[in-house]
Amino acid sequence: MENTKKKGLLDRLKSSRVLRVMFGRKIIVVCAVLILVMVLVAIFAPVIAPYDPNKDDLYNVLKGCSAEHWLGTDSNGRDVLSRIIYGARVSFTVGLVAVLISSVIGMALGLISGVAGGVVDSVIMRIMDAMMAVPMLILALFLGAILGQGLFNVCLAIGISMVPQYARITRGQVLSVRNADYVTAGTLCGASRVRNTLVHVFPNCLSANIVTMTASLGGAILAEANLSFLGMGISPPTASWGAMVSGGYKYLSNQPVIAIAPGIAIMIVVLCFNMCGDALRDALDPKLRGTLGNGSKKRRKATKGV
């Protein structure tokens, strides 16, 4: 036991059950590596991308795949591959910022609602109910129309439309720990309500929220694509995968690669986030512990045993 204290952070992470469980599955490792690669691609886009993503070449538009342009060029003669590489920036930004906005607002509302209770709780939760009664896409569309286009506005629209789920989860968690002994103990020790909430209640809401956050990263990226398709996405010329797919729709029958390639990029990123989100949920869920045995290794024993 004492040994753990001496171990470095990295060792502790390695010994962390959650991470070991998660990365015990090869496919999750693959997904995590893919995400990492994409993040690196996004960060180092200027180094990696073969062309300037916004550089027109008006006499060289809609060319198919070639040695110069691996994925061809789009309606403005821009290199599709370079735009996909830069598009990763937008997708990750939207994913992160939207999730951050929604989780911060949502968790705050959930905490207030759960801790305060009474009228405050009812008011907040009724508003959340009302927001949830409107399908998320329509809500985002609505907010998008109000806020106008632009990267941050799109993030905000998507973020706000995802607030209710965080508020609900957090409130549920708060209610389940509010009367736990250690919280009561905190109150008895004279901790202020705010302190008590932040120190004792809040950390217990985190794990459920972290799972939701991982899962909704993918959701936010899809939402951006959907808004782009409906003409409420990020303003051009910024390369965004969603906008590239909907822009490529016009050329579906002749140059389908313009629409297909960014769609596949979206799919891969969302897939990776979803898989990691699932794995994280499974790893954090005490109820699921033990169901994911790596039976293959010990199959010989099973035959002997049964």
Binding site: R20, G290, K297, V306
Partner: protein, 329 residues
């Protein structure tokens, strides 16, 4: 006793669990015998391997995770480890049945209690008519002290004690030869505990059923069991009749520790004596006495493999402190 008379015979049983991150050695080389109608108390702290032992007897170790890695289990003359699943399935409920720790979750929430009793009867007595089976359901319910008319209700409509009665009714419905009772009273409050133990004991006697009672409560064992086995970290460390364990000065240091942890009314005592330290890491294969790390008598010798030593006619202890010769009274 001759081999034939034994209901259950376990030899050198080892059980392992493979989890995502490690292998847990839950039971290590366990031997056990039980005659028809006998009651054995299986005592030990959480993680000692009691439940795993029971689950391997009824062959319900978690699929894909828990495996019997060595040994043999003979139940009512059937080799449980080398018999087709279908045969074993038919034995479950009729030859051997199990009562689980938590009556709250042991009953299917979406089936009426009557249907759950009926289910086990129907499986093992398909030849009987519906009316006969219904009658038997009523009988079982009355037997465990619940009015038969409540059989159309759902589990959530019963209190914890009532649910446990139903679980017992399910377990006993086909008059099995062996009941595995896994801490049947832990989840219940104390007043009901006594009732429940009385009920189980009573029914067991009436039906001449053998029972393995798993518990960490020595008091319960004293009340109900003829034989006691103390387990520690997957091994049996002491085995004997109730008298051997309760009325003797020869005890395994761990067993002694368990006794010391029980408050005694007739002695002045500022503080209960707890057993120092934590249980041995179950993910490590045992070497020597598993209790050595926590044992105040431990010496370098304890690091070697310790055999069971017979210290009385029916009393066995796995500890070098006791000389087998000396015990021949």
């Amino acid at each position: 006793m001759s081999e034939k008379e034994k209901l259950l015979k376990i030899q050198d049983l080892s059980v392992e669990y493979d989890t995502e991150i490690s292998t847990v050695y839950a039971v290590n080389g366990l031997d056990m015998e039980l005659g028809y109608g006998e009651t054995l108390g299986l005592v030990g702290e959480t993680g000692a391997g009691k439940t795993s032992t029971a689950l391997s007897i009824i062959q319900l170790l978690p699929e894909g995770i828990g495996f019997v890695t060595s040994g043999s289990i003979q139940l009512d003359g059937v080799d449980m480890l080398n018999t087709p699943e279908e045969t074993i399935r038919k034995m479950r409920g009729s030859t051997v049945s199990m009562i689980f720790q938590d009556p709250m979750s042991a009953l299917n929430p979406v089936m009426t209690v009557g249907a759950q009793i009926m289910e086990v009867l129907k499986i093992h007595h398909p030849e009987q008519s519906r009316a006969q089976l219904e009658a038997r359901v009523d009988e079982m319910m009355e037997l465990v002290g619940i009015p038969a008319k409540r059989k159309t209700e759902y589990p959530h409509q019963f209190s914890g004690g009532m649910k446990q009665r139903i679980v017992i009714a399910v377990a006993l419905a086909c008059e099995p030869k062996l009941i595995l009772a896994d801490e049947p009273t832990t989840a219940l409050d104390v007043t009901i505990q006594a009732q429940m133990l009385g009920l189980i004991n009573d029914l067991q006697k009436r039906l001449n059923t053998a029972m393995i009672l798993i518990t960490h409560d020595l008091g319960v064992v004293a009340q109900t069991c003829e034989k006691v086995m103390v387990m520690y970290a997957g091994e049996a460390i002491e085995y004997g009749t109730a008298e051997d364990i309760f009325e003797t000065d020869q005890r395994h240091p761990y067993t002694q520790g368990l006794f010391n942890a029980i408050p005694k009314l007739n002695e002045e005592c500022d503080r209960l004596e707890a057993i120092e330290g934590m249980m041995a890491d179950p993910t490590q294969k045992p070497k020597g006495c598993r209790f050595a790390d926590r044992c105040k008598y431990a010496t370098a010798e304890c690091r070697a493999q310790q055999p069971m030593r017979q210290v009385g006619p029916t009393h066995y202890i796995r500890c070098r402190l006791f000389d087998p010769m000396q015990s021949a009274r």
